[in-house]
């Protein structure tokens, strides 16, 4: 009960804070101290958002961005998860991949953008590849440590109960490693989301949320920029909470691998 009251209280406080922040912003925007094009008022931003949603342009920008990020992300899963499992299971694979991964991981994915532009031209390929580069390493390394952290007792127990390699893999190793794998996917998506926006800005194609923001800068459309920021934040939030949250709920929490954490 007190927890419930606490929650309502913190929601109320959050709303008050945001309202005050919005009012401050509005006051600054209306004060005329800054040029109106650079600091648009909130109704103007809302109008820009609404207009772009109505004529469908914002939706197709978001669609292109999502297509790029999901394509690259899926590629990263297809490569990262099996490779991570192989690294954990076979020593030579680990010896080969691990040094490479730790050398390439600290390179920011955006550093590859100019090179990829030269190699593949402007457009979708660059964005997809950059997303792939950004997302692969967290998935790879988390899968690797997840499989290695599977309790050896479980493996022996399953082996003693007559599980063959195949069964062992699907029924013990994959579920056992899944909390790590899901954490890896989560981190990877965050990085992928950053990478796709950056790649769209630098490798300007003509669609995508990152491109919208960058393009709006040229025409001093600060209202459009902030509207795109809102959409980007919203999509990121939806993925983080809904997609990965429910993925976690449906798998590792139901299996009792991690405790339900309610904040």
């Amino acid at each position: 009960m007190t927890q419930h009251a606490d929650r309502i209280r913190s929601y109320r406080r959050a709303i008050v804070t945001i309202a005050v922040a919005a009012l401050c912003y509005e006051a600054i925007a209306r004060s005329g101290y800054f040029p109106a094009v650079l600091v648009p008022t909130l109704p103007k931003i809302a109008m820009a958002l609404w207009r772009s949603l109505l004529d469908g342009s914002m939706l197709s920008h978001a669609g292109f961005t999502l297509y790029r990020v999901l394509f690259g992300f899926s590629l990263a899963i297809v490569v990262g998860v099996p490779l991570g499992i192989m690294m954990a299971r076979y020593r030579p694979v680990q010896n080969f991949v691990l040094p490479l991964a730790s050398a390439f991981m600290p390179i920011p994915s955006l550093a590859w953008v100019p090179l990829f532009i030269l190699w593949f031209g402007l457009g979708n390929t660059v964005a997809v590849l950059v997303v792939f580069y950004a997302a692969t390493f967290p998935i790879l390394l988390n899968t690797w440590s997840g499989v290695r952290s599977v309790n050896p007792l479980w493996l022996r127990a399953a082996g003693a109960m007559g599980a063959d390699e195949n069964l062992l893999f699907w029924k013990v190793i994959i579920p056992g490693a899944s909390p790590f794998i899901i954490t890896g996917l989560r981190q990877a998506f965050l990085r992928a989301w950053i990478a796709v926006v950056g790649a769209e800005m630098i490798a300007a194609s003509d669609w995508g949320l990152g491109w919208t923001i960058f393009d709006a800068k040229e025409f001093l459309n600060a209202d459009m920029m902030i509207a795109s920021l809102v959409v980007i934040g919203f999509i990121g939030f939806v993925f983080e909470r809904l997609v990965f949250g429910s993925l976690e709920q449906a798998t590792v929490m139901r299996w009792g691998m991690v405790k339900t954490v309610r904040s």
Partner: protein, 254 residues
């Protein structure tokens, strides 16, 4: 033993280098776009000797240090306030929760519009973006300090500054360090991107981006190599050292 470790670490790189070299030599792709390794090494040596590459790297590091220092100071302060005072938590938490999930580079054009092209915007953006993990982790760390430590320190007559210095700060430090580490990694990723956008005169990101205009693939790859080295050095030298000096020595982490 030592040699074997070095050899084992080196051999994947040799394999990749050999494949690269073969592909480049066979000229599967145009040579300008896919230069062999010795051309990249030559570009690296040429740029290093002429002082161009060190200048780019130096400016990038200055920006990184300035931005990250701002983020660390502001982030730790806000995080501690949020952890200690209910009111501060109420004010900052909603704002941070809204602003944090937006990818850092998405703010870049807005910052460029507001603060102009160049150095200042780049540093400010890096600071802004890398502050979020610092704030979140510091806040969690301060909240995770055991209540019983605080109460026993109070009973033993610790005043507020003492409590802060000897209980809260050391107690929260493992989290704060994690936050700083994440923040630095974030700063590094954003900085390279923003240098391409902000039209700064020097900087590794700009060097790579500028080299594209002239199809100088060798220069670009040399730049990427330097970026990789700096990233690796940040990870291995800076943070592992700090961790060893503090939390590991205090027995808070093994």
């Amino acid at each position: 033993m030592r040699w074997r470790v070095i050899a084992r670490t080196a051999y994947p790189f040799l394999v990749v280098a050999a494949i690269w070299e073969i592909v480049a030599r066979l000229e599967v792709f145009p040579r300008r776009l896919f230069p062999p390794l010795e051309e990249i090494a030559a570009a690296f040596a040429r740029l290093t000797l002429s002082g161009v590459l060190p200048h780019h790297a130096f400016d990038t590091l200055i920006r990184l240090t300035a931005g990250f220092a701002l983020a660390a100071i502001a982030g730790v302060m806000i995080g501690i306030l949020m952890g200690r005072f209910r009111r501060a938590e109420d004010i900052f938490l909603p704002l941070v929760t809204i602003a944090a999930p937006i990818p850092g580079l998405a703010y870049a054009p807005l910052f460029l519009l507001w603060f102009g092209l160049g150095h200042f915007s780049a540093v400010l953006l890096v600071a802004f973006v890398s502050a979020f993990p610092v704030v979140f982790n510091t806040w969690t760390g301060v909240k995770a300090v055991k209540d019983i430590w605080v109460r026993s320190a109070l009973v033993m007559g610790a005043d507020n500054p003492k409590l802060f210095r000897h209980v809260i700060l050391p107690g929260a430090l493992p989290y704060i360090l994690t936050g700083l580490r994440l923040g630095l990694a974030q700063a590094w990723r954003v900085l390279v991107g923003v240098e391409m956008l902000a039209a700064v005169p020097w900087g590794l990101g700009w060097m790579i981006f500028g080299a594209r205009e002239f199809l100088n693939t060798d220069v670009m790859l040399a730049g990427v190599a330097v970026i990789a080295m700096i990233g690796l050095a940040l990870e291995k030298l800076v943070f592992e050292k700090i961790e060893n000096y503090t939390v590991v020595r205090w027995g808070m982490m093994s």
